[in-house]
Symmetry: C2
Subunit: 320 residues, 2 copies
């Protein structure tokens, strides 16, 4: 649950005078997302999301995130669009925080994943990857292989309190990943957080992707590795190869994967599992008392990581 | 923060087939309210609130609440209206809970109260009281004077852990209120929870009142006593007689108060302070570990109660 910052009517009224959106009609805090304060805003001009960026999003990254949404949307990709004020700027300040008004994207995120969801997702991500080619800002992925060791060091002393032997397991896996992480794969801007709650559907149509606040430059295939973990395991942690095949095949209909990308999928999937395992573990161990957000379970990603350790090639992901 | 019950797409889709609202477009949990799970629902037909009634609302009271909204709205009073399904019913079941779709009411609740807000509120409440006259369902106020002693008994042993001497203070005040509670004042259906977060404004216009889930039959003047406490104290607990005068004078422009009602205001204000003090105290002392909702501070209402104990007549509330 989010909404950390309470916005007063006066502050909001003042803020809205900087836009051509007519009179403010309503503002409701949304109980979704964990990084920022999100409000559903109605004005005479329509429905919008008002986002106040909380401390986890770095101010200097915002031009990249907002610019990316604008670029993608101009290419016809369905995603929220930052609304510009009368001065042509989308990013401004509200209640001492960076803030932006974003168009409202209709759609529901799937609480229960069916294989056809993965199919729509695969096509959308390939389109995303192709369409970010003309976007010329760059943002390093600070949560890729180079960012894992500091997270691990901040957790290793208490990791075994979460699961016995976890610290040694992570140490060994991290050594392996650092030594074997692929190089030279096709890369560009990826979403890097395309979990089900960021992908919206209306009926059987993917209506758009939201929440670009982890987007960065990295291997395109790493995006698929993230989605293999986020979309293709069942609630009982069984891997569903049908979903994986739907994801990868649909992706390849739009952007075929090179042999090197296919071969790298198992290690990329291990790396992606390590990334979410470590950030969840960090959040759990450094969770402030009384915080609104319930930390996610890191051990879910432990089990996913162990699955990928046994994988010998892309065939395990439903490919021939 | 609310949203206790997660609704799956499948359940919601099935639920919506019972209405003529077109395709479901989006559903977002709203981080407001503490009693029920509220979602903002967009369909092809427009914006709605989907409410799942959690355990604190009694199922047998729902026809009263929903019927009242429908009655008021038919009289032209601005409030949410329950939407009827194809079968003509507004109340049905979703995820094992009573549920209803309600029209979306535009407006913002005032975070900072100005005297003119109290003026608009006074007129609206008087209109509400006049217009509920033709509504023929009845619901006793189980949180009036007869309901306070059981709450007190459930708290008295631990009340002093919240504020030293609180238990004795409450015991004495409760004796006084039970012995002196007025009889025979004009009565009818009141909202009984018209706190600022339930009263919406668009610009300087009161756009409507929401959240009828404490509405009941009681003295009309008791409604004003609740609002004197909820709207006319400053954040530092100073009483603002200008706001009180605006509230009461505007009310009387629509429905003049009888002498007996004016004279009863101080004791009704003490009683209303007792009611919110006791429910907040109860919630604080019986707050489950890890609950999402942060209990409200009961001692705020202690200080309000002490203010009214010193009041000798309606003049203290800004009346001549």
């Amino acid at each position: 649950m989010a909404v950390y910052t309470e916005v007063s009517d006066e502050d909001l009224g003042e803020f809205l005078t900087q836009y051509d959106l007519g009179e403010m009609l309503s503002l409701k805090g949304i109980a979704e997302g964990v990084e920022n304060s999100n409000y559903l805003l109605h004005t005479e001009a329509g429905s919008y999301i008002l986002t106040l960026y909380e401390k986890r999003v770095h101010r200097e990254d915002l031009p990249f995130f907002l610019g990316l949404m604008e670029h993608l949307s101009a290419q016809g990709f369905s995603c929220p669009v930052p609304i510009k004020g009368k001065d042509g700027e989308a990013l401004r300040e509200l209640c001492g925080r960076p803030a932006a008004i974003i168009s409202y994207l209709e759609g529901l995120w799937p609480k229960r994943i069916h294989p056809w969801h993965c199919n729509r997702l695969g096509r959308a991500l390939a389109t995303f990857h192709l369409e970010t080619k003309g976007f010329d800002l760059r943002r390093e992925n600070n949560l890729s292989v180079g960012g894992w060791r500091p997270l691990f060091e901040a957790c290793r002393g208490r990791a075994d309190s979460v699961e016995k032997g976890l610290s040694a397991f992570l140490a060994e896996e991290l050594d392996y990943l650092e030594s074997n992480w692929p190089k030279g794969l096709p890369e560009g801007v990826i979403h890097a957080d395309a979990f089900p709650d960021n992908v919206f559907f209306v009926g059987d149509r993917l209506s758009g992707i939201i929440d670009f606040y982890f987007a960065c430059n990295d291997f395109f295939a790493y995006e698929l590795a993230i989605c293999l973990n986020a979309w293709c395991f069942e609630p009982d942690n069984a891997f569903n190869a049908t979903k994986a095949r739907q994801l990868l095949q649909a992706y390849q209909e739009v952007r075929p994967l090179k042999r090197a990308e296919l071969d790298a999928l198992p290690i990329l999937a291990r790396g992606s599992a390590m990334r979410f395992l470590l950030t969840r573990l960090y959040d759990l161990l450094h969770h402030p008392e009384g915080a609104l957000v319930t930390p996610k379970d890191p051990t879910e990603y432990c089990r996913k990581l162990r699955f990928h350790q046994e994988v010998r090639g892309p065939g395990a992901y439903g490919l021939d």
